[in-house]
């Protein structure tokens, strides 16, 4: 068979090559360029560690690093306190209202983190509603800006991920093991401590890592609650160093970005080491059955978890509610109005349209590349597909601001002159969110019996035909679940688009962010509500498409 005939029969090597090529251009190149720039002295122009030395000699930079780590650590602890008890309750017990509470937990994921941050300001900011109300009865609490507020807002934004991962881990713990421990005379808490927790540790480590990375990479929340320069973190620092109107320092911006990436990589390595050291072979035989709680115990559980979840959804209600309130100055009045929306639409420009178009195109590309890449990862063990896997996962740990700066510094000249275009935003969306869909696609391919493809082939159908007629229909539910998550993330993307947008390519999250930072509080609330509504509406559509049995799996 000639090489061409072989490729026509089985084009997967070519697909792998294409995916690797795309990833090299849009992942490896910008990151390599940032690394290079970080090693070229901002002052001297010489190659070396000059920028890193400058970074650690500056009190301001050191403070940003410390702030980032503090906020991420504190926020992770908050998220753990919130998510782990909820995950335990949901994995082990059935009670009335459980499904609704679960939906409410997932609702916190529907808006970009900075919307939550903005809501906290509306409640506990300098002229926040709750703070003013408390002040009027003589209770003075400090405004929420700074480390504590950022950690709190981040935790409320990030805990659903932790909840889902830990609950998934708990659901996989063999019931028989806990029963064995109990039958050997251990009390309930001792069983959790000696059996359940060690077995669920890998999930706990993964979830904690995701939350920590999510917080340290977030741009919007610290930018809004940190009041810009007053409480710098690495992500906001890199941004302002790169785009500062007075004397941008691209070398120092690249260095800050590199430090951010190094922290992320170190954490991933640490988590892997931890998981490898404590790995236990996954005994998943026993089917997990939740114990039904009825009567007072059930009601108590529902009220307890419900209250916790309601608290975490407060920002959502506050933002949506206040978008319909009249504003005088910076203070909401108890008068219902649609004026905020009228103003918002008037100032909207192309932002909404841009967002919809960019996100839709990006999603279509993510689905196609993600489906192919997931299949490659799960079924083809070639060197190329392992490379594709690695490269696709890199953006998973690269903060958006970093990728944005990388793009802006690489694609601003031929051969790829993309800065200022819509393409650069679409490509960035694709690259940032491909890991989710590729992972979802791979995990569903792993679950599909290899025999199906072999059966198709033995019946006379070429590999590509088998992929289309057997694999794709079976991958569809997993792909749509991955796409749902990708949609939420893409449509709400801020931290890279804030670097890459120009007047004509402004997106809705950028508009909402700009209004919450400096503009009209009513309009900001209206924009944020629009983001939430469109995200939720699209998500409902995905669940519809996915058909019955549609619980949206994450990651």
């Amino acid at each position: 068979m000639s090489a061409l005939a072989r490729l026509l029969r089985d084009p997967w090597p070519l697909v792998a090559l294409l995916v690797v090529a795309i990833m090299l251009v849009f992942v490896a190149w910008p990151l390599a360029e940032l690394a290079r720039q970080s090693l070229i002295g901002q002052e001297s122009g010489r190659f070396g560690l000059e920028n890193y030395v400058a970074f650690f000699e500056s009190r301001y930079f050191r403070r940003a690093l410390a702030n980032s780590l503090t906020v991420a650590a504190l926020g992770t602890v908050f998220a753990l306190v919130l998510a782990v008890p909820l995950a335990l309750a949901f994995a082990r017990y059935d009670f009335r209202g459980k499904r609704w509470i679960e939906v409410a937990i997932l609702m916190s994921m529907l808006s970009p983190p900075f919307v939550g941050a903005y809501a906290w300001i509306l409640m506990f900011g300098r002229s926040g509603m709750v703070r003013e109300a408390l002040a009027s009865v003589g209770i003075d609490i400090p405004p929420i800006y700074g480390a504590f507020g950022i950690a709190l807002a981040s935790a409320f934004g990030q805990y659903p991920v932790l909840f889902l991962v830990v609950r998934g881990g708990l659901a996989r713990v063999n019931l028989g093991l806990e029963e064995a421990a109990a039958s050997l005379g251990r009390g309930r808490l001792a069983v959790i401590r000696t059996v359940t927790l060690p077995l669920v540790l890998p999930a706990l480590v993964t979830g904690t890592l995701l939350v920590f990375l999510g917080i340290i990479a977030d741009f919007g929340t610290p930018s809004i609650l940190g009041e810009g320069e007053r409480f710098p973190v690495l992500a906001t620092l890199a941004f302002s160093l790169y785009l500062s109107e007075i004397g941008a320092e691209p070398g120092m911006a690249a260095t800050t970005a590199a430090i951010l990436v190094l922290i992320a990589l170190a954490l991933v390595a640490f988590a892997r080491w931890l998981a490898a050291r404590r790995t236990v072979s996954n005994d998943t035989s026993g089917q997990r059955v939740a114990t039904p709680l009825t009567g007072a115990r059930g009601a108590l559980m529902a009220v307890g978890t419900g209250a916790l979840v309601l608290l975490s959804n407060m920002p959502l209600f506050v933002v949506v509610g206040s978008s319909f309130l009249e504003v005088r100055g910076v203070v909401f009045q108890p008068v219902l109005t649609l004026a905020n929306y009228t103003n918002a639409f008037a100032a909207l420009g192309d932002a909404l349209w841009n967002s919809l178009i960019y996100a839709a195109i990006a999603l279509a590309m993510i689905l196609v590349i993600g489906a192919l890449a997931g299949y490659l990862i799960a079924r083809r063990g070639s060197l190329l597909s392992r490379m594709a896997d690695l490269l696709i996962m890199v953006p998973y740990v690269v903060p958006g601001t970093v990728l944005g700066i990388g793009y802006a510094s690489v694609f601003n000249q031929p051969p790829l002159m993309l800065t200022g275009t819509a393409s650069i935003i679409v490509v960035m969306y694709v690259i940032r969110r491909l890991p989710y869909v590729a992972r979802a696609s791979a995990s569903i391919v792993y679950q599909i019996d290899r025999g199906l493809e072999e059966a198709s082939q033995s019946l006379g159908v070429r590999p590509l035909g088998g992929f289309r007629r057997v694999m794709l229909p079976l991958m569809r539910p997993g792909l749509l679940a991955g796409a749902a998550i990708a949609w939420v993330e893409v449509f709400n993307e801020l931290s890279a688009s804030i670097v890459l947008y120009t007047g004509g390519t402004r997106t809705l999250p950028v508009a909402a962010y700009q209004q919450s930072l400096a503009g009209d509080v009513g309009m900001a609330a209206a924009y944020a509500t629009m983001l939430i509504a469109i995200t939720a509406g699209a998500l409902a559509l995905f669940i519809r498409l996915r058909g019955r049995g549609g619980e949206v799996g994450v990651l």
Binding site: D449, S458, V461, L474
Partner: protein, 369 residues
């Protein structure tokens, strides 16, 4: 049965350092059902996958009906394959599953519908054509798999442990159906299994494999009665093993078991003499031993009954011999069975004893003497 339909020679497959197939020759006649039998890791599934085209051999050639398979991908071979996991397409109806291969061959419309229906009737699923696989039992799914593989009129039917996921009773019923259908259609079949009973029941010939090598290929009776290899004797039916020495004498070969009994194997036309003197191993099947009141003319072993296991018509006695070794004997169930703890005598006819000598090589172990 005419000459060889499938001819595989010198097939080698390596996975890293592991030789999955270490030079296998296999020849299958037209219309024959050959089982590949052996423990897991023996290479039987690898051999089947090489024939199917899913695994490339490192060396060796295969021809089917005189046509070389070199460079022909699985979809070009026209072999039906039946999978242990059934591999029934879950998103297609039963009829669509069976039609899949016909569509690929350009069969359309009424012709296709007729052939699908006929194939489903043959596996007694005619009434379930519109069902989806999720509504089928394991046995029904495997019937779909069978109909799907048969309907394309394959040159070779490959079955990879097709009954392993079914419960015991259904397994026996299905293997009878498979055998009847295979004979009726005269379809050349290679059947992989690790179940010796299944292999004995279904095969024209059994190919016993171990560690990537084919040890013996012969009809079931021969594999069982005249195992060419100690491993074959042990794997098929199970044996009690005794160390012994062999000394050629004037009347025939004298065999002395380390446990005590001695006997002489007279020379005859099926027992040529001149076996080399030295250590041998003697295999006795459980059912070759008979209870007797006291040692008599026949060689006899004595031991204490450790446990009795009732198995219907026969009862298995688990015994400890004087040397401390344990063995099993299957005796007819009945009133006169010894109690546990009792010392009993078991005699056997010298003809039933199988002798194996050690041969060089890491794999071959003991061969028939």
């Amino acid at each position: 049965m005419t000459g060889a339909h499938l001819e595989a020679s010198g097939i080698k497959v390596r996975f890293g350092d592991f030789a999955a197939l270490d030079g296998v020759d296999l020849s299958v006649r037209r219309g024959e059902l050959v089982t590949l039998l052996g423990p897991s890791g023996c290479g039987k599934t690898t051999l089947l996958r090489v024939i199917a085209g899913f695994q490339q051999q490192g060396a060796g050639h295969i021809t089917v009906g005189g046509r070389s398979l070199d460079g022909i991908p699985p979809e070009g071979r026209n072999f039906g394959m039946v999978f242990q996991s059934y591999a029934v397409f879950p998103h297609m109806s039963v009829a669509d599953n069976v039609a899949y291969g016909l569509t690929a061959r350009g069969v359309r419309g009424a012709d296709r519908a007729r052939r699908v229906q006929a194939a489903l009737e043959r596996v007694q699923l005619g009434a379930l054509a519109a069902r989806h696989p999720e509504a089928l039992s394991g046995g029904q799914k495997q019937r779909v798999g069978l109909a799907r593989a048969m309907v394309i009129e394959p040159d070779l039917l490959l079955m990879d442990e097709p009954l392993s996921n079914l419960d015991a009773l259904l397994r026996i019923e299905m293997r009878r159906e498979i055998r009847l259908m295979q004979r009726e259609l005269g379809i050349t079949t290679i059947y992989v299994t690790h179940d010796q009973e299944e292999a004995l029941a279904i095969s024209d010939r059994i190919a016993v494999m171990r560690q990537g090598k084919l040890l013996q290929i012969a009809p079931p009776e021969e594999v069982f009665e005249a195992s060419a290899h100690a491993f074959v004797a042990d794997f098929i039916g199970g044996c009690n093993w005794f160390d012994a020495t062999l000394a050629p004498g004037p009347d025939g070969d004298a065999v002395a078991l380390a446990e005590g009994p001695r006997f002489v194997l007279p020379r005859g036309k099926d027992r040529p003499g001149d076996r080399p003197a030295g250590p041998v191993r003697v295999a006795l099947r459980n059912e070759d031993l008979r209870l007797c009141d006291a040692p008599g003319a026949l060689p006899c072993l004595s031991g204490q009954v450790l446990m009795r296991a009732y198995m219907g018509h026969r009862t298995r006695l688990h015994l400890r011999l004087a040397s401390g070794a344990t063995m099993d004997a299957d005796v007819p169930s009945g009133a006169a069975l010894p109690a546990e703890g009792e010392v009993v005598h078991l005699e056997f006819h010298p003809d039933r004893a199988r002798l194996f000598t050690r041969e060089a090589g890491p794999v071959d172990g003991w061969r028939i003497a």
